[in-house]
Structure formats: structure tokens, C-alpha cells
């Protein structure tokens, strides 16, 4: 059963076409790489698949819970990492224990406002937030850009766990080399078109 199906998804900004009609399917148990140069439309496609951005045309059907890590930090800088996790857990109607568990699992600092955390820690917090609803689909936009090698390894473990549990992971990156042996298939996006 297809977990996510996008059909004819298009996005324009005025007269500029950021994304030409695109079809994407995510099947259970796969890690899909979305590659392409900067400005190819990867972030736009992921935001549309995540439901954060409305497509100008086309449809996205996803029957499962979706986690999304945007390229730029997306949490409240004046709240601590734990408070951010608790807030999004409440909004996702997930148990508070799940937030605490993720906080410990990602070894996030306590007592500091998120704005005071390092870039790497903020990226880990974003990843933790994307997991509070225990998603079966994980959409990651350049997730490793600020992570150290250990954290990168942990990220791929998480991706593998989601895949092994019958979920699907879509990773957008322009670091081809990092995907070697990790992605089951690759989609390439150039100038808003899948090639």
C-alpha cells in the first residue's frame, strides 16, 4: 500500500515556476533520496509533501502520520528544547512521556533556550520534534548539514528504524556521496523537474 502519493504537484511564485508537475510515491519500507543542486525545488517539494505549503496545482494523499524536518530551524527560540518538544507533543496529541523520551534520546541540553543552542543541537531538536507523533513517513530536508559524524550516524539509524518498521523516508540533499548504500532509490530534481 502506497504511504504517500503526490500527483501533478506544481508550485509557482507569480510568473516563476518553482516546481513543474511532479508525481512522487513513497512505498512502505524504503528510503528515497531526493537529490539536485541548490534551487532545484527540493525544499518546495518536501514542504508540499509535508502539508506545510499548498501546491498551486496537484494533489498529495498521505494516509499516515508524517514527520518533517525543514531545512531551516523551525522551533521556538525562547523556549527550551524540552518545552518545544512538550508543546509539539501536545499539539500532535502525543503523550508527554514521548517528548521526554526524545529529549533524552537526542541528548538535548536542559535549561537553555533553543536560541542559545549550537546549530547542530538545533538541528537535532528539529529532528526530535518531527518524531513526536511517531510518524511512518519521515521527510528530511538537508538533515545532516550541521551534524557531527556521530549525530549523522544516529540520524541514519533513525531513518533505518522507520523503514524497518514499514515506514518510508524521503531525504533531500545535494551531498550525493552521503547517500551511498543508504537510499533504496534516488529521485533527481533539476530546475523544478524530476529527471
Amino acid at each position: 500500500m502506497t504511504l504517500l502519493a503526490a500527483r501533478g504537484v506544481t508550485r509557482t511564485y507569480g510568473s516563476r515556476i518553482a516546481l513543474h508537475p511532479v508525481d512522487v510515491d513513497l512505498e512502505p519500507g524504503e528510503v528515497v533520496a531526493l537529490v539536485g543542486p541548490n534551487g532545484a525545488g527540493k525544499s518546495t517539494l518536501l514542504a508540499i509533501l509535508a502539508g506545510a505549503l499548498e501546491p498551486t496545482a496537484g494533489t498529495v494523499d498521505n494516509v499516515e502520520r508524517t514527520g518533517w524536518v525543514p531545512q531551516r530551524s523551525a522551533h521556538y527560540g525562547r523556549l527550551t528544547a524540552r518545552e518545544n518538544l512538550h508543546l509539539f507533543a501536545s499539539l500532535e496529541r502525543a503523550p508527554a512521556a514521548r517528548a521526554d523520551d526524545l529529549h533524552d534520546r537526542f541528548e538535548l541540553p536542559d535549561g537553555l533556550r533553543a536560541a542559545a543552542l549550537s546549530v547542530g543541537n538545533r538541528q537535532r531538536l528539529d529532528l526530535a520534534i518531527s518524531l513526536v507523533a511517531d510518524p511512518r513517513i519521515l521527510l528530511l530536508d538537508e538533515p545532516t548539514s550541521s551534524l557531527d559524524p556521530d549525530q549523522r550516524a544516529r540520524l541514519w539509524e533513525i531513518a533505518r528504524d522507520v523503514r524497518d518498521d514499514g515506514g518510508a523516508v524521503l531525504v533531500a540533499t545535494h551531498h550525493w556521496e552521503e547517500l551511498e548504500g543508504r537510499a533504496d532509490r534516488t529521485l533527481e530534481l533539476r530546475e523544478g523537474r524530476l529527471t
Binding site: L53, S73, I129
Partner: protein
């Protein structure tokens, strides 16, 4: 509802972590309110009026038996305006330029007509055009009224002199002519020396009645000159600084800044933090997000507005200034504050939704709040269009709601009317803000 509550709780938590911002948002409008109060209270209270003397008023002027020091009299009657002596040409020019709001001209022959006391002399007045004209005309009317009151005594005394001449006889002068009058007293004496027949007795009766009647002329003439006397009673009410108007404006101004700037900054902040995309993924709809910001503005406005109202209430107790309902109506005031804060929050949400960044939103909010406040300060009778625009915004309704809540003897009519306006304005701006949030997703 849960989503609104969660976002609201988050916003309050963030706000409490920036007490400096909260302090500025509270004290800045209070300072503005105080400055506006001073400007409104004193700047327009003494308008500049030109005084053109074409008759060459002498330093001293004798009217009847009274001598007037002209400059002293002018200073006394012109306490509510700043009277500036100028030539006829200067007066015309300054009125055209708007440097003076009116020009009073003493025409040639004024003093002569006044001293003859037969006809009323005329003063000419030219008043500026525009919205302030009625008020200026009132002030000039008041000036002439005060001058008339001063002259009244001289006129009455002069008339009484003639009455006394009629009664007692003697020499007098009228319109430049000297005359000698027999008088009723001496007439009565002469009548007693005449043969007492019926015609003589009838004349004696008439003289007797006329003497009695003229003896009452003094009081009657003074009563005719002043049919109603105004006696000022000692008052113990609120001073101008603690008046209903000042308290209403202070509350409305404070929460206008608070509500508008907070809601605008908080909504734009969601975008700054890049969280808007996360929230719009079915977690918090645009409508609920706007509702949370409206609720934030309502909560903060209620808490801080209540603090300001308490400060006013304590000041009335300490200053022994009774009046209004500083304590009893506080529960109703809470509702009024929440409603006004919510309506302002809706306006602020629209600003926050349209502006791209929190900084821009805050700046735009401050720029927006000032005209909203100033429009609300312009009396509708002075500039009708300003009244219409102000009616479509929350500030003026907030002022009227607070004044009715705290001071009206029967507040409910005004409270219900203004509350309905605020709910309507809040809904319109809230819906507009919700629509404006939508295209900003992501």
C-alpha cells in the same frame, strides 16, 4: 480550542521571559497618554485671538459713573484666550495664515457710542474657517459676555441716576444736553400747597404710587440686567487628571499599544521562527492561530489594563476625589478590557499576517496604532469623516466603553452598544487576518 490554548500558553510564557518588552509596552503608552493629556488640556485652551483697535481706545474710559482701566479690563475678560494687539492688515493676514483663530475689531466710534449709553456699540469678529470655528466662536462669545457683565453695572447705575432724578429732582445731563428736573418728591410737596379738590387729590395719588414704584426700580433694573445669577458651589469631585475622560483615554491608549503591537509581533514571530509551516500542517489552523493571538492581546490587555485602573482607583482614594465607580465596576471593567483588547488583537493580527517579519510587524503596528488613537481623539462634530473612520476601529469604542463602565449612572445602554461594536470590529479584522495568514504558509 486546545490548540488555541496551547499557543496562547506558549506566547504568555515567551512574553514573561521578556519583561523589559512588557515594561516598555506598558509605560510607553502611559507616557504618551500623559503627554497627549497635557497637549489636549492646555494647548487648545488658550487660542490666539487678534485684537484690532480702530477707535484708539484710551487708557481709561468713563462709562456712566464708572471708570474702566482699558488694558486691565481687557486682561480680565480675555482670560481664556491669548489676545494679541495688531493692525487691521496684520489681523487679516494672520487669520488667513491660521496664526490667529479669530480677530476682534473695535470699529471707529465705539467709545463714543458706549459713553452715550443710548445704543449698543458694536464689536466686529472674524473667525477662522473649519472644524474649530464653533469652539472659537463660543470663546469669543464668552469674552464679549464677560465684557458685557462688566459694563452692565455701569449701565444700570447710570439708569438709576435718572430714576433718582425722577424721584428726588435735580440737575442732569442726557445725550449732551443739561436739564433740571422737579422730581416726584418736590411735586408731592407742591401739591400739598394747592387747593385740595378732586383733581389735585388724583394727581397726589398718582405721585404717591409713582414714588413707591420707582423706589423698587433699583432691584428690578438689576434683575432685568441679570435674570439668572450663577452661583458657583464648592465641588469635591475628581480633578481633571483623574477625570472619566482621562481614565478612559489612558486605559484605551495603554491597551491599544499593548494589544496591537503584541498580536502583530506574536503572529509575525511564528513566521520568523519558521514555525508557521509546522503549525499549518493540521496542528493549528490559521483561524485558530489568529484566535490565539487575539486571546493573547485580550489576556495581556486585561491584566495590565486592570493594573492601570487599580492605580487610578487608589489615586482617587488617596487624593480624596470621589466620583465614578472606581471599585464597584471593576468586574465589568475586566470584560470591557478583554473585549477591547481582543478587538485590538484582531487588528494587530492582520498587521502581523501581512508583515513578513516580527520587526516589520512591530514597527508597522506602532505606525498603525498612532493614527488609530489620533482619529479617536478628534471629536466627530469637528471632523465628521474622522468620526466615521474611527467608528470602524476599536480605540474610540474602547474609550466610550471604559468611560461608561466606570462612570455612567446607567451604563448598560452604552456598554452593550460599544461591546457590540467591538465584537463586530474584532470579527471583521480577525477574518481578514485569517485570510491573510493563509498565503503565507511555508
Amino acid at each position: 480550542m486546545t490548540a488555541v490554548w496551547l499557543v496562547l500558553r506558549k506566547d504568555v510564557r515567551i512574553l514573561l521571559r521578556t519583561p523589559a518588552l512588557l515594561g516598555v509596552l506598558l509605560f510607553y503608552p502611559l507616557v504618551i497618554a500623559a503627554l497627549l493629556g497635557l497637549v489636549a488640556g492646555y494647548a487648545s485652551s488658550k487660542p490666539r485671538v487678534g485684537f484690532v483697535d480702530l477707535d484708539g481706545l484710551p487708557p481709561k474710559l468713563v462709562v456712566g459713573n464708572h471708570t474702566f482701566n482699558v488694558q486691565h479690563t481687557i486682561d480680565e475678560v480675555a482670560r481664556n484666550v491669548t489676545l494679541v494687539r495688531m493692525s487691521e492688515d496684520e489681523g487679516r493676514r494672520e487669520l488667513d495664515d491660521g496664526k490667529v483663530v479669530a480677530v476682534i475689531t473695535v470699529p471707529p466710534g465705539f467709545v463714543a457710542t458706549l459713553q452715550q449709553m443710548v445704543q449698543s456699540p458694536t464689536l466686529q469678529v472674524a473667525v477662522t474657517r473649519g472644524g474649530t470655528a464653533p469652539r472659537v466662536r463660543q470663546q469669543v462669545d464668552a469674552l464679549v459676555y464677560t465684557l458685557n457683565r462688566k459694563l452692565q453695572r455701569a449701565y444700570v447705575d447710570a439708569n438709576l441716576t435718572y430714576v433718582r432724578l425722577l424721584l428726588h429732582g435735580g440737575s442732569g445731563k442726557f445725550v449732551g444736553r443739561d436739564f433740571d428736573l422737579l422730581g416726584l418728591d418736590r411735586t408731592a410737596k407742591l401739591l400739598t400747597q394747592l387747593p385740595q379738590e378732586e383733581r389735585t387729590q388724583r394727581i397726589e395719588h398718582f405721585v404717591h404710587d409713582a414714588r413707591l414704584a420707582l423706589a423698587q426700580t433699583d432691584d428690578a433694573l438689576r434683575a432685568t440686567a441679570t435674570p439668572i445669577k450663577l452661583v458657583e458651589q464648592p465641588a469635591h469631585g475628581r480633578t481633571a487628571a483623574l477625570s472619566a475622560e482621562v481614565e478612559g483615554y489612558a486605559l484605551a491608549l495603554t491597551i491599544s499599544f499593548l494589544g496591537l503591537v503584541l498580536a502583530a509581533g506574536a503572529l509575525a514571530g511564528e513566521r520568523d521562527e519558521n514555525v508557521l509551516g509546522r503549525l499549518s500542517r493540521g496542528l493549528v489552523s490559521p483561524g485558530r492561530l489568529v484566535a490565539a493571538k487575539v486571546a493573547l492581546a485580550a489576556v495581556v490587555s486585561t491584566v495590565l489594563g486592570f493594573g492601570v485602573a487599580l492605580a487610578f482607583a487608589v489615586a482617587t482614594v488617596v487624593g480624596h476625589a470621589p466620583g465614578g465607580e472606581p471599585w464597584g465596576r471593576l468586574p465589568l471593567l475586566l470584560v470591557a478590557l478583554a473585549l477591547t483588547g481582543a478587538a485590538l488583537g484582531a487588528v494587530g493580527s492582520l498587521v502581523g499576517a501581512v508583515a513578513r517579519e516580527a520587526r516589520t510587524a512591530s514597527l508597522v503596528a506602532v505606525l498603525v496604532v498612532l493614527p488609530i488613537v489620533f482619529l479617536g481623539l478628534i471629536p466627530a462634530e469637528v471632523f465628521t469623516a474622522a468620526g466615521w473612520v474611527s467608528d470602524a476601529l476599536p480605540f474610540a469604542h474602547g474609550v466610550r466603553l471604559f468611560a461608561a463602565t466606570l462612570f455612567d449612572f446607567h451604563p448598560w445602554g452604552a456598554v452593550v452598544r460599544e461591546a457590540a461594536w467591538l465584537v463586530g470590529i474584532g470579527l471583521v479584522f480577525g477574518l481578514a487576518a485569517t485570510a491573510a495568514v493563509r498565503p503565507l504558509r511555508g
